[in-house]
Amino acid sequence: MTINVNRSWLMVPTDQPDAISQACDSTASVILLDLFEGVAQSRRTFARESLKAAIGQCVTKKKTVYVQISPDQWESDVRACVCQEVSALVVARAETVEHIQALDALLLKEENRLSLPAHSIQMVLCLETARGHQDAYALGASSKRVFALSLGRVDLVMDLRPEPSGEIHLLPFLMQRLIILSRTLGLMAVGAWWRAPDRGLNATADNTFKAARRGRAVGFSAVMCVNPQQVEPIHRAYSQEAI
């Protein structure tokens, strides 16, 4: 398995240049340009049109760039984002092998069109739905581009609510299953062990540190976050001192 040093993946809406600037000024390992979750439906086209400029901002700051594509407009998103500077696509709400294989084929076509090396763009699958989890093994094995699996915002998508203890229903089960499955397939598991009141990756620095440390303890190797203030606690949770 490849050793991963990209611990912090900072997700930022692609239609917000100021937020992208702030993200680029952070020490995040990866800037995850979002075309879906943080972008209003009415601004999706604008976000796609802004993508090349956003990628440019990130590259200037020597950041690794991933792009999160939407499940409903994935073809347009893929055509907008394929370029040498984008290392990976994050596939939100991955559910079917057919979808991943279609994505793979479109990526190959775009790579050929742009004279990029075949399969140079990798994929991260966010398993956020019950169906995605049911077919997780087949999804993870469906393309050699897939290098990581994540729960994404499964707590919100599947409406998993907090227990009185603060643990979110089903989350420990889904996390540990994803980790075992990822390792079986030789893939990275991306995530953190969030507890209520933190939902949707948004948390205080202290809670982010705790979630990342718990996540590391059960087998995650990187964390997605949405605020630049979360980056330092994530790096700290993965440091030697956090052991």
Binding site: Y137, F173, I180, S182, T184, R216
Partner: protein, 304 residues
Amino acid sequence: MTLLVRRSNLCIPINDRARVQRAGFHHADAVTLDLSATAVVPPTLQEDIQAAAKGGAEIFVRLSPLQWEAQMASLPVAALTGVMLSKVESVEQLQQAEKTIATLEKKQGLDKGHLQWILGIDSARGVWHIRSILAACDRLTQIFLDEKSLATDLELVCLAELDPFDYARGRLVVETTAASVSLVGMSYPLSVTPVEEAFTFIHENANKARNLGLKGVVCPFESWVAPVNQAFTPTPELVEWNRRVRIAFAEGVAAGTAAVPLDGKMIDVPVDEWAIVVLEMAQACEQRDEQKRLALLSSGVAAV
């Protein structure tokens, strides 16, 4: 079905001669002579098996994941109950081992199936593929969930307060139970950082392991054996309660009902069924302990 009473399996490195010679005197239900760190089978193995068997324990050998085929060819099969094989991850691997062991049994004039398997599951692949592994052979009696090695495979930096194996253990409990195979191991975090501790501490952790669905413990230390045996043996109070359950339920059935009260609790079909299991297990444990006591007496050596 005969109940398998293998509460404690004392695992001792074969090179630790002093411990091997005393292995039979600790009342373990089974003793595993661990060859996993050696390349070859030592010439003293037959003698070691005899020493370890003095207390009536079943004798297993744990083979090296890398040298198991060569080691297996040199085993005195007739003297063994079975073989523990670690790092089992796939059906193909198990089928190869199965073929080798069957050939060996034939060569030594033994019935097919003489040797039992205990398979060590210590990787994500093993956990994920457990159902096909369980279905791949008939001689499998136990699965050993080796959480220490699993933590290494997953590159975990464990926190004592956070059990990372809920899913892995849960999956194995369900799958092994469905396949009528016993799952053994130890509760977390003692499973990852095994230490010699006071009787009560080990007993408490073994109880926890039993409550998690495990049927026994692979003991790295002699001091674990007694508390583990006790934790996996129904207590006299539990036996007495379940005797009363059976009587109360039978009276209820005779009176035309399958749900009767006893000391404020409802006794119905599942409670009665569980009572049968508890009483049978208590009896099987008693018989096993008597077998071991007699074996120790006949060996002419006092227990430690």
